[in-house]
Symmetry: C2
């Protein structure tokens, strides 16, 4: 994994699978996502996670997978959205999830 | 900013301020958050962002600030939650926000 989090742009995605307890679905999702990220020209950082089981009131631990990517610019993220490998991942795996929430942020400089 | 995203544990927080357009509130929030992060013994990565303005259906761009931190373990994040500097930041700034959502993830190994 590229550990450097680019401070310019972060793209964070939460996936809720239809069958979060089905091992075949999880394996298919993880393999499809990793295959895509291994060839993406634009994505950096590439953190894939699952809920940490931190039971506090403000914590939403209902998702099945989290994905944290960073980009060197908004333009690179726009290009990533249209990348063939990205479109293929969605086509291949979208039947596995029922909900996706995305948070895109640009980093702020010191005030 | 420490750019290394520790693959062990990520702690992502979205803040919705009461007055997102009020410059004084934004400045107070940013200064309080930065002061806290500069002395935290446990937090790594320390990305602070604002919505990127990516207008797609699955994107939630309604938050005021995002915070992405990483930790070398779940235990370190537990210690961070109880850190004096963290409790002080909450005490100092919680009147500025109306909603906070947290997503905690542990990184997964290759399948």
């Amino acid at each position: 994994m590229d550990k450097k989090l680019d401070p310019s742009f972060t793209h964070v995605v939460y996936f809720w699978l239809n069958n979060p307890d089905k091992v075949e679905d999880r394996t298919a999702f993880e393999q499809s996502l990793r295959k895509f990220l291994s060839v993406s020209k634009y994505a950096k950082t590439k953190f894939i996670g699952v809920p940490a089981g931190t039971p506090r009131g403000v914590v939403d631990g209902s998702f099945t997978y989290s994905l944290i990517l960073s980009f060197s610019s908004k333009e690179e993220q726009d290009l990533y959205q249209k990348e063939d490998a990205h479109l293929k991942f969605i086509e291949e795996s979208e039947h596995l999830w029922k909900k996706v929430v995305v948070y895109d942020s640009v980093g702020i400089k010191k005030t």
